[in-house]
């Protein structure tokens, strides 16, 4: 127990319901993994098997698949024309990396100026940024959709890359951190002849690295899972992101439950990168998630 570290914890019997709750948290993952390796006959067996009887990789790729032959499962990597599932993966990956890196560069530059410089209107800009965080982002989707249409950006990467760069919350968060950088350090650098760009890039950014890391996790997780915006601006196959592809696959589940195998294979592959990411950056992840919930 926290707070009262010296007092004995809850009696283990009283913890039992919470262990059961933990099992229910894990269960969807278990079901995802096992379903991904079940052959066609087993996936629609009632009652379902808790342990895979006859594991198969056909849900990922079925070498023997031929169109028109019944009782054949079309592997995940065979289901889409064009770049296919790997293409969706690459789209999501590239978009996430670009938006995370670019939006943090832009936000940290703005954050530095707003934290360490006073100029006419700086207070208003700061208040506008805070104020915009109170507004549900759905308010902006219709005008932004229209902007994309007018720019001719529907079904292009521009629509997936550019509007996402305006991250007011990142600026707000970084302003808080950059204020903690001592003015003396910045003054000393100035006396040594460093320009503003160098102070921002070489003095300030290294000192706020934990905040940048937390923000990077938060932004990249949001981009990786972004669903509504791509849903609005993409309706061809070439620019489909992973969440969009998963959404379409999930939709087809209603019509054809036998597709569950390849769909679970897709969800499994989509979850692996975030899990690896989590294992590598555990500490930053917790702060990234918690700053994330700060977003209004």
């Amino acid at each position: 127990m926290v707070g009262e570290t010296r007092s004995p914890g809850l009696h283990s019997l009283m913890r039992l319901p919470f262990y059961l709750l933990a099992l229910t948290v894990l269960f969807p993952y278990y079901w995802m993994v096992t379903s991904a390796f079940k052959p066609l006959g087993e996936i629609t067996k009632a009652p379902p098997t808790l342990i895979v009887q006859d594991p198969t990789l056909k849900n990922f790729y079925n070498a023997k698949y031929a169109p028109g032959v019944s009782d054949q499962i079309q592997g995940l990597f065979q289901r889409f024309t064009g770049t296919g599932f790997l293409g969706f993966f690459a789209n999501s990956f590239a978009i996430t990396v670009f938006v995370t890196v670019a939006s943090l560069i832009i936000a940290s530059a703005a954050g530095y100026v707003l934290a360490k410089h006073k100029f006419p209107g700086s207070r208003i800009v700061f208040l506008l940024i805070i104020g915009s965080m109170m507004i549900p982002w759905q308010v902006t989707i219709i005008p932004n959709f229209l902007t994309m249409r007018d720019f001719g950006w529907i079904n292009t990467y521009w629509a997936l890359l550019i509007p996402g760069l305006a991250k007011a919350f990142a600026v707000f968060f970084l302003i808080q951190s950059i204020r903690g950088v001592p003015d003396e350090l910045i003054d000393a650098a100035r006396i040594d002849g460093a320009g503003e760009v160098r102070i921002w890039w070489q003095i300030v950014l290294p000192l706020v690295r934990p905040a940048l890391a937390a923000m990077a996790i938060f932004v990249s997780l949001g981009e990786w899972n972004n669903f509504l915006w791509p849903l609005l601006v993409v309706n061809d196959d070439a620019h489909v992101t992973l969440p969009l592809a998963l959404g379409r696959l999930a939709g087809s589940l209603t019509a054809d439950p036998r597709a569950a195998g390849p769909i679970m294979a897709a969800t499994l592959l989509a979850s692996v990168p975030t899990l690896i990411f989590f294992l590598v950056f555990q500490r930053q992840f917790v702060s990234g998630i918690t700053v994330g919930s700060l977003k209004g």
Binding site: M1, G3, E4, T5, F18, V25, P28, Y29, W31, M32, A46, P47, P48, I106, A109, A110, V113, A115, K116, H117, K118, F119, V125, S132, I135, P136, Q138, I141, I142, F145, L146, I162, A166, F173, Q176, S177, R179, V208, P210, A211, F227, L228, P243, G247, T254, P257, I263, M264, A266, T267, A270, L275, F278, V286, S287, T290, V291, S293, L294, G296
Partner: protein, 324 residues
């Protein structure tokens, strides 16, 4: 006042990051030349103006028009808003959303706090359990909603129905039974959200000085007295923060109803049983391209969220402290 609240929250959750909003003034130094700093600020300001400020204003304007994405928008006064207030589907969406928000926020807060108290320790086992509950915050998103859809399959091979079968119960169409729709949404949202809430409460609990508990123990306070008289009052900022952000987030719910209940003809499930405000906005705006009307829905959403945030802040104000 709001700044103070947010600063408080940020400092409890920011991990290694020191977050203070107390000194809201930018550094007092006045630079002779603004050119370079303004150039650094410029990229963000251009993007912010184009994709945040302008859309907010344009959205307000569109909400007073009959814009349908094809012919030029025509001002029609407050007709969209008066239509909205007579629209049964809007009330359905509002009622569903309100029920969803209240259920999710209450259950998540109670469960999150309970889990933080039970598994908040430093032991390896506690850390493992925290990671388990935190897992949906990491590997969640659309992928896991597809898994839920599979778990909730209406046939006998849906695992939840198979579990019912063990007790001799007939399969249920989990996502096609109107009286269950919101319960399903709440279940999935709590499953995904309680771990994040737990992490916030763990941070809040650790910020409480242990001397307080020691002093109370010396004075003979029972563990339950210590919980109600020390832990809970001191967790107030964390709790307020969780309730406010949880309310705002839950009001914007879209992915869950859209993916679990959305069908070919409707976004709200059978009899609109899972229609929420944002899925309704999506349906009007991008299903029927009534962009003016949908903008009015968006602004009503904004007003509700804003009002609830203010109410929460007011309710969360400690009675014994004068308002700053």
């Amino acid at each position: 006042m709001r700044n103070d609240k947010m600063g408080l929250a940020a400092s409890t959750v920011g991990g290694g990051v020191k977050v203070t909003l107390g000194s809201a003034q930018p550094s007092r130094r006045v630079r002779r030349s603004f050119t370079i700093p303004l150039l650094l600020l410029l990229p963000f300001m251009v993007l912010f103006a184009a994709f945040v400020l302008y859309p907010v204003i344009n959205s307000l304007y569109l909400s007073f028009t009959n814009y349908n994405a094809i012919s030029a928008p025509k001002l029609i006064g407050i007709a969209n808003y008066t239509d909205l207030l007579q629209d049964p589907r809007f009330y359905k969406a509002l009622g569903n959303t309100a029920l969803f928000v209240v259920s999710v926020v209450v259950i998540n807060t109670v469960l999150g706090l309970t889990l933080a108290v039970v598994f908040g320790g430093e032991g390896v086992w506690d850390q493992v359990m925290r990671a388990v509950f935190f897992l949906p915050s990491v590997a969640g998103g659309i992928a896991i909603l597809a898994v839920w859809k599979w778990i909730l399959n209406s046939e006998g091979y849906g695992i939840l129905n198979a579990a019912r079968g063990l007790f001799g119960l007939a399969p249920i169409t989990w996502l096609g039974t109107p009286s269950l729709a919101i319960a399903m949404l709440v279940m999935v949202a709590v499953w995904g959200g309680m771990g994040g809430t737990m992490i916030l409460f763990v941070a809040g609990l650790r910020a409480i000085p242990s001397e307080l508990y020691e002093a109370a123990a010396i004075d003979g306070a029972t563990p339950s007295q210590r919980f109600w008289k020390i832990t809970l009052p001191l967790l107030r900022p964390t709790m307020l923060y969780i309730i406010i952000t949880g309310t705002i987030g839950a009001f914007q719910v879209f992915n869950e109803p859209y993916l679990l209940f959305g069908g070919v003809s409707s976004v709200g499930g059978l009899l609109d049983s899972a229609l929420t405000l944002v899925t309704y906005l999506y349906d009007r705006g991008f299903g029927r391209f009534q962009l003016g009307y949908a903008s009015a829905v968006a602004w009503v959403l904004f007003i509700i969220v804003f009002a609830l945030t203010l109410i929460n802040l007011r309710l969360g104000e400690p009675e014994d402290r004068t308002s700053e």
